[in-house]
């Protein structure tokens, strides 16, 4: 049987499948469906320092093979999350990643510091790319210099491995990825959602109060795969590929494009056991294609 291990360097995951931030709650919600130990790791919903209610509804809109969301990072705040993390950690040994948000660099650091001292947290994922909360959808991921500044700030003041999650809504993602790498990022996760627009013709209004919303799901997979390939070419740190992954075949496509691990997103919302199915499908497909381990095909396109 094929070896599914995904080696990020700073941690070895039993498999490459990591449910993504915002699509997996705080993990515990899925215990009724499956044993979290089956996963490579999982990412908790993004957290700010203070409790947030999130955006005014509507918050989602279905598109062909896709989903637009404007949830707005509702959550309990970093201190409030501590108890939730301890509770979930008592029920699984799978590495827990927490997605760190902030309205400015100081807040990113404040949140990261709270989580950095928790032994239950394996890694931090820096969310510099959420499209749904800042005015105009701008975030540090818009610029290499802003990215470098915030990543450096966190690396200098915290100890946990730091994954930097990038936005696809910039003209040159690889240059932002390189900036994160230069500032000490341990890995890159890419992509967050693509900004999209839904319109209501009858009322001549945008569907979402925030105007733009983030598109996810199988509709974005080819776009994401392209960016993952570009970023994997540009940096030497591990890349975690994200974007519309629904099947084991999709996983191997992202690995082939250069990803070391992947995150599942929308699939967790529409199919609670989807990530487990994807792990099983990946293993079956590797056996069928006689691939012994993921490193054998990572970035190994015949071109």
């Amino acid at each position: 049987m094929a070896d599914l291990t995904a080696d990020l360097g700073f941690i070895k995951l039993k498999n490459p499948v990591i449910p993504a931030s915002g699509t997996f709650g705080y993990g515990g919600e899925f215990l009724q469906f499956f044993d979290l130990d089956l996963l490579g790791a999982f990412v908790m919903k993004g957290v700010y320092s203070e409790e947030r209610g999130g955006n005014e509804p509507p918050r989602i809109w279905e598109t062909p093979s896709g989903l637009l969301n404007s949830i707005g990072l509702a959550g309990p705040g970093a201190e409030g999350l501590r108890g939730i993390i301890k509770e979930v950690a008592s029920k699984t040994s799978t590495p827990i990643i927490v997605n760190v948000c902030g309205g400015n660099d100081e807040e990113y650091l404040e949140v990261a510091r709270v989580l950095d001292v928790m032994e239950e947290v394996a890694m931090l994922e820096l969310n510099i790319s959420c499209p749904n909360v800042r005015s105009g959808g701008s975030c540090p991921a818009q610029s290499p210099s802003d990215t470098k500044k915030v990543v450096r700030l966190l690396k200098e003041n915290t100890k946990k491995p730091l994954i930097v999650k990038l936005s696809p809504n910039v003209s040159d993602v690889p240059s932002v990825a390189r900036a994160a790498e230069e500032a000490g990022a341990d890995a890159i996760s890419v992509v967050n959602t693509f900004l999209g627009l839904a319109l209501d013709v009858k009322n001549r209004k945008p569907v979402f109060k925030n105007f733009f919303a983030g598109l996810s799901g199988p509709a974005i997979k080819p776009l994401a795969l392209k960016i993952v390939w570009e970023v994997a070419e540009a940096v030497n740190i591990p890349v975690i590929g994200i974007g519309g992954i629904m099947t084991g075949r999709d996983v191997l496509e992202f690995i082939l494009a250069g990803a070391t691990a992947i995150q599942t997103g929308t699939v967790n919302i529409i199919e609670p056991t989807g990530s487990v199915r994807i792990i099983n499908e990946t293993l079956e497909l590797m056996d069928e294609l006689k691939i012994d381990n993921l490193e054998e095909i990572r970035g190994g396109l015949n071109i």
Partner: protein
């Protein structure tokens, strides 16, 4: 709750654009109570992507029933399911109406929102004195009136907006008299938000216990996507799928 492939036993037109689907699942049929709902995959592909929520209408283990109105692509796909087809279902989801004994309870249904109330009639009419008010746009949208007629209810009142088939009016038209006449101290309601708003202004301050089962467009159905929120009277958002769908009327911030 579980995610499983359920076999379609029957999928037939009840009236007009309304269908009743009978599905097989021991888990769902044995563990559902009035208020619970299921998320159903309408297609085996990625389009439409989201499952759709349906209130459980009744159970007859190992079977359970849902009904739906054909209004768009998702429900059209559902209407095309044949006996023997498998559909992916997650459930049972959400909370339920509280269980009482020997109480005078009024059920108030609007339009498509009769599923949990019919289920409540079936489950609780033996142990409580139930009355029902049910209203819809027209007689074509008033569902299961014949089936409801088979149960011993203290009082039933049906209304249509256009006066077709039944008394012209809304669910609130005679509600105060019906509450008074039947010594009602508890209501269970299900319907569109507009109906809840009229109910709230009509009976919200009578000092009786009012429970509403809300409808919402949902992403996941089990509390992780945070899409189906409504504003609570405390100013905080509540998730219809996992904090509800049943709420005390005073927990929700109504528009009027």
């Amino acid at each position: 709750m579980k995610e499983e492939a359920c076999r379609v036993i029957t999928n037939t037109i009840i009236q007009g654009r309304y269908y009743l689907m009978k599905l097989e699942s021991s888990h769902i049929s044995e563990n559902s109570k009035p208020g619970n709902f299921v998320m159903v995959a309408v297609s085996g592909s990625n389009d439409p992507l989201l499952k759709r929520p349906f209130g459980i209408f009744k159970t007859d283990p190992p079977y359970f029933y849902i009904y739906y109105e054909v209004v768009g692509k998702g429900s059209e796909l559902l209407a095309s399911k044949m006996t023997g087809d498998l559909v992916m279902v997650v459930g049972p989801l959400g909370n339920t109406f509280p269980e009482y004994e020997n109480e005078n309870i009024l059920l108030v249904g609007g339009g498509r929102g009769i599923a949990p109330l019919y289920f409540a009639i079936e489950q609780y009419s033996g142990s409580n004195n139930l009355s029902l008010i049910y209203g819809a746009r027209s007689k074509d949208d008033l569902l299961f009136t014949e089936e409801i007629g088979k149960f011993a209810l203290k009082e039933k009142a049906f209304y249509t907006d256009d006066g077709s088939g039944f008394t012209k009016g809304q669910v609130t038209t005679d509600i105060k008299e019906i509450i008074e006449r039947n010594g009602i101290n508890i209501t269970f309601s299900c319907g569109p938000d507009k109906m809840f708003e009229s109910l709230n202004s009509e009976i919200g301050s009578l000092g009786i216990s009012n429970f509403v089962s809300m409808e919402a467009f949902m992403g996941c159905g089990f509390g992780i996507c945070y899409s189906c929120v409504v504003k609570g009277s405390d100013g905080k958002y509540k998730k219809v799928c996992s904090d509800g769908p049943v709420f005390r009327m005073e927990e929700i911030k109504w528009q009027i």
